[in-house]
């Protein structure tokens, strides 16, 4: 039962066999990105857990602390912590997405990617783009809760926050891919999450204002890149709120570095640089011989 004509004849030994073609690299990036999205939409528990955790922080921690901190001119701790919770949602989703490389390695799919005749850069860029997209979506979902706690949203605010989320997600996913490239065992994964994610979140100003901290804590928050990713989001959200001066003093924004308050552009530049550096490191680390 040999078929006489094949659907597509073999083109053996094409005259041109170039190793790098840009459109092919782009197609690869898009495919790796798509796979991340398919996997994300297919694991409902992941989406759910990505929503529940920030909700817990927002409402439980938010209400709990609100009674302690009190209200200043109609502005309370819930409103203060809200941008931090949005960021937190982005960060944990981004890191988790990047860490799926450890799963890919465990289940062998990483090998399918690494032996393919594509560049490592395309694979890392696709993975990072996918993780960032998911993280941005997850973080933006949190914005829907704003009216519940009395935070006003404007279209401009939403656009700006989403863009900042995307930059933050890029930086964190690249960082996560870099870390995940060094993890070969499933068991190490939980340890890394505990040792990296929680300290980064707690030392970022997501939960408390960064003014008047003891020096050691101030230093730790300043070396944490997340600090510079969260402050601009808080700045933009607060700018759209009707905050009395007393509340602005009580819940300040801005990060002081060497006695000067960093401009917003400076903070964004730090996060951007962090993203570029870790993207380069991730490409370098990804797919070294196992």
């Amino acid at each position: 039962m040999a078929s006489t004509t094949l659907p597509h004849s073999r083109t053996r030994h094409e005259a041109v066999d170039r190793d790098t073609i840009w459109s092919d690299e782009l197609r690869t990036i898009a495919m790796v990105w798509r796979r991340e999205l398919i996997r994300f939409t297919r694991t409902r528990t992941r989406i759910l857990s990505g929503i529940v955790q920030p909700l817990l922080f927002l409402f439980v921690l938010g209400y709990g602390m609100a009674t302690l901190v009190g209200t200043t001119g109609g502005f309370d701790f819930k409103k203060f912590v809200f941008p931090g919770i949005v960021a937190m949602s982005v960060v944990s989703t981004a890191i988790f997405a990047a860490m799926s490389i450890v799963w890919d390695r465990e289940f062998g799919f990483l090998r399918e990617m690494l032996i393919a005749p594509v560049s490592r850069s395309a694979l890392v860029l696709g993975k990072t783009a996918g993780g960032s997209t998911i993280a941005t979506m997850q973080g933006s979902l949190m914005l829907l809760l704003a009216p519940l706690i009395g935070v006003h949203l404007t279209l401009l605010l939403v656009v700006q926050v989403v863009l900042l989320e995307l930059l933050m997600a890029l930086a964190l996913t690249a960082f996560g891919v870099f870390v995940a490239s060094h993890i070969t065992k499933m068991e190490s994964f939980q340890v890394v999450m505990q040792l990296l994610l929680l300290p980064m979140l707690f030392l970022s100003g997501a939960m408390f204002p960064l003014r008047g901290l003891p020096p050691w804590l101030a230093v730790l928050t300043r070396v944490n890149p997340l600090t510079y990713a969260i402050d601009p989001i808080r700045h933009i959200v607060f700018a759209a709120q009707n905050m009395p001066p007393a509340a602005r003093v009580r819940f300040p924004t801005g990060v002081e570095l060497f006695g000067r308050t960093l401009p917003l552009a400076g903070e964004i530049a730090i996060v951007g640089a962090f993203a570029v550096v870790f993207l380069a490191l991730a490409i370098h680390a990804f797919g070294r011989p196992e």
Binding site: S3, H8, I38, E112, I115, A116, P117, V118
Partner: protein, 325 residues
């Protein structure tokens, strides 16, 4: 083969890991459309050789060309022209079969307008045409392996490398998989290079290279390898062995007494059974024709038997021959 480059050429391939020489200089060539098997025990250097040919390991010495490309100088070109199936599974179980294949199609630059028809074609080749939209996590081990073979063929590779492709599969699934592989060779014209330590699997190959301690100790067709080991042996037990022995010796057979009967050495044992029984002149209780198996070949070249894991190849073949009696 006139003018057409060989599918695989290896010349003096060596791979050292520190002081250990895992592959100690192997040379061979594989023609287009051939099914070529590397047969050897675990640790003989089969996987290391395949890894060098697939550009996953760099040779310590020697050269190799796959699909016409040098494995050291043009690794990406080599990878684009080969299909790979590893011992361990490399599918994304959270994706459907089609999604796994589409991912592969992009990574291996299958032309956009050909992707869907190629997917349909390779799924049909392995009998999974109706499972394209099912998640791989719902597949059995055998189905997953066949999907991997389909995937390896998606980009119409010149050479399909299968590293211990049937490990962990039940005999029925293994047989099915072999049907797939042979059909692919016929329909897609792909060259198949496989490693195995199952004797019965090596039988499917056009040519077998027996590898031991990093060296090729024999390389020929299965039939030639077996013929090289010696003729068939026919064991007989009769009502009166002494009388039968005399009669057969008189008839000119090469016969020797054995523990409980006699053994006749003869070129075609099966065809000789009827004349032999006739020549004994006494009632025959038991006949057993022993053809040289690849086990004998292996034993002959390496001085030991290949270690089988499960589904012992020798006993399977013996059962088959016993049935023919």
């Amino acid at each position: 083969m006139n003018g057409e480059p060989l599918a695989v050429e290896a010349d003096g391939l060596v791979k050292r890991f520190g002081a250990l020489e895992a592959v100690a200089g192997v040379s061979f060539s594989v023609a287009h459309g051939e099914v070529f098997a590397f047969l050897g025990p675990n640790g003989a250097g089969k996987s290391t050789t395949i890894n060098m040919l697939c550009t996953l390991a760099r040779p310590s010495a020697g050269v190799a060309r796959v699909a016409g490309f040098d494995v050291v100088e043009r690794p990406k070109a080599v990878r684009r022209h080969i299909g790979l199936v590893f011992q361990e599974q490399t599918l994304d179980e959270q994706l459907t079969a089609n999604e796994n294949l589409r991912f592969h199609a992009v990574l291996y630059r299958v032309r956009r307008n050909e992707v869907e028809s190629r997917i349909e074609h390779v799924l049909e080749l392995v009998g999974l045409a109706d499972r394209g939209n099912d998640l791989v996590s719902t597949f059995s081990g055998g189905m997953a392996r066949r999907l991997e073979i389909a995937r390896a063929l998606l980009h119409t590779p010149d050479v399909l490398f299968l590293d211990e492709p049937t490990i962990g599969l039940d005999p029925q699934t293994r047989a099915l998989m072999w049907e797939d592989v042979m059909r692919m060779r016929d329909e897609e014209g792909v060259t198949v290079f496989l490693t195995t330590h199952y004797m019965d699997e090596a039988e499917y190959a056009d040519r077998i290279a027996i590898i031991d301690y990093g060296r090729i100790v024999a390389l020929d067709t299965p039939a030639q390898l077996k013929a090289g080991v010696g003729a068939d042996r026919v064991e007989l037990r009769t009502a009166d062995d002494a009388k039968a022995l005399c009669a057969l010796t008189a008839a000119g057979y090469d016969v020797r007494p054995s523990e409980n009967g006699m053994t006749i050495t003869i070129a075609d044992g099966e065809a000789a059974v009827a004349p032999l029984i006739g020549a004994t002149g006494v009632p025959v209780w038991h006949v057993h024709v022993h053809r040289p198996t690849l086990d004998d070949v292996f034993l002959n070249f390496t001085g030991r038997e290949i270690r089988e894991q499960s589904g012992d190849g020798r006993s399977m073949m013996q059962r088959a021959w016993t049935r023919h009696r």
